[in-house]
Amino acid sequence: MTRSLARLTCIALLAPFAAGIRPAAAQDTNQVNEGVRVGVEYQPGVQPGLIVLPGTGLDSLRAIVGRDLDYTDRFRVIILRDVASASEGRGGSEGGSVNYGIYRTFGAEFGVELTETAGAVTVRLHDLNAGQVRNQQSFTLPPATDPGYRLEVHRMADEVARWATGTPGIAASRLMLVSGGRVYRVDSDGEALTPLTPAGQTALSPAWSPEGGRFAFTQLGQGRGPVVVQSLGGGAGVPVPGTTTALNITPTFSPDGRLVAYAHSDENGTDIYLANVADRCCAQRLTVGRFADNLSPTFSPDGRRIAFVSTRAGPPQVYVMATDGTDQELLAPFDYGATGSSNAPEWSPDGANVVFHREVAGSPQLFVVDVSGRRVRQLTSAGRNEDPTWGPDGRHITFVSDRSGIRQLWVIDVETGRVRQLKTPGAARLPAWSRRLSRTAVAP
């Protein structure tokens, strides 16, 4: 009697959460689209329900993991808020078997169980329909006060996503952004905002090295400035060859981390150069714009092509070339005189797409062009949306939007259209998203 009452209460509490959590499938709207869930085998476009099972202790850990899994947009994450459900689901016995039936009634197909055992955290992924543990692993975490703690928890969550879907999550990645002239880094969930460049300077356009241990950025002085490569572990920055005169903007690393492409602006215009930062030599000019500008280079993941912006036809549009500057052609089709300016391209990690922003009725909006078919698709429509950067999974994009009233960072899932804010204290712009960060490459 008491039990079924508790259960009823629990379901009543859960219902609004379960309904509200369903992500929107339409692009950049809040429309709810109830998809059909067919079972525990992960299929793209289908979001199995997932419950982070309640338990004793580890509350903050559960909160981080639950949020990380939610942000993958591959699950419908159900948060249990009623402690009664803990004993309910466990059948009352501490450490006993999970009561699969009751979690299935919440519409869940996966259950993630976190338990603390002798200085380690054991994670079990339960297949609730099959009624068995699908994967389990013990993770040794640093103390919660350790600067590396959060990244380790994110790695754990990414592993759970891999068990369930075959693709790891993206929580163990970070972003860089510019706020008040400084470059900051921030965890993928918006936590642990940390400045990387000093106050009182104007730093712009941060770019990650592929391994995640360095970054390049423009140090804007009195109307000019170098591109500087700096270690995330600290230390002085080193100017990229060829950038110690005039104005040097929009740096990007080659996929092997040895080269930096950037745009050099002087009285002859703005053109793209490629310098070897591994051997510290040899800035090579890739474009000859004369009085047209060429800027914002971005490498294909195989390192053979560079997409970039050029004003050769008038307004800026997105082009592509070989990394030696030959074979230049239009990438994103446009109608001359009708299509708005297009800027800030970034090649997706899987190589299939290039995201950029394009003016529509006076406001920039995100667009994606698929590299093989050259079809252009609009992703956003609410407010001004610009300066996109791909997440490590090639389906999430962080961008700048003024939809909150000031320019801040937002994340869109290209597959579902779900948009969430990456909360930062103030205004933020020019985001750059890292790849998944390995333990060896990155300082905590």
């Binding site: 109307g223 104005l247 500008d293 914002s296 307004p315 300016s341």
Partner: protein, 189 residues
């Protein structure tokens, strides 16, 4: 007693004259006021008249210098996403060309700026192109390009913090800053 009062009056008058303050730099210079002649005895005042004449000439020269400097520093503006010098700004640049020709030691930094619309990074290139356009115009008027330095701030330094077309129009600009030879500017003939 009477002598003391007279002295006080004179001293007060002198103080008032001394405290009259400098004229604001933008105001036309007032006519030099003749100093009161407290002593009834005739004196030779030619030295005083020379001094006043020199002061007047210096003041007029610096007025002219200020006007020349203002012409040299006058901004020009641009249409949205354009870097072409507008016809209405050609006279402004022609004045600068004449001044630069008359003052061969003057060097100028031209900084290009953009409004906040458009891509942040693209605006740096656009500002650069705007500064370059003014430089080419002056070169075509015979000014040595080595005296003209081009820099760009993109949208990073707006003149007007507003978010409307009036503010944008002000922010799309070239600024001209004298970096050398700016003392004793000579007006062109």
């Amino acid at each position: 007693m009477r002598a003391t009062s007279l002295l006080l009056v004179l001293a007060t008058a002198g103080l008032a004259a001394a405290c009259g303050g400098k004229p604001a730099p933008e105001q036309p210079a007032p006519e030099p006021t003749p100093a009161p002649a407290p002593a009834p005895a005739p004196v030779d005042d030619s030295a005083e008249r020379d001094r006043l004449e020199r002061e007047r000439m210096a003041r007029e020269a610096s007025e002219r210098g200020r006007a020349v400097a203002a012409d040299l520093a006058a901004m020009i503006n641009f249409e949205y996403d354009q870097a072409a010098v507008r016809q209405t700004d050609q006279a402004t640049l022609d004045k600068k060309a004449a001044i630069l020709a008359a003052n061969p030691n003057v060097r100028v930094q031209i900084s290009g700026h953009a409004d906040e619309r458009g891509s942040d990074e693209y605006n740096l290139a656009l500002g650069n192109r705007r500064a370059g356009a003014a430089k080419r115009y002056l070169e075509n008027k015979g000014i040595d390009g080595a005296r003209l330095e081009v820099v760009s701030y993109g949208e990073e330094r707006p003149l007007n913090a507003g978010h409307d077309e009036a503010a944008y129009a002000q922010n799309r600009r070239d600024e001209f800053q004298v970096t050398a030879g700016g003392d004793n500017l000579v007006a062109p003939q």
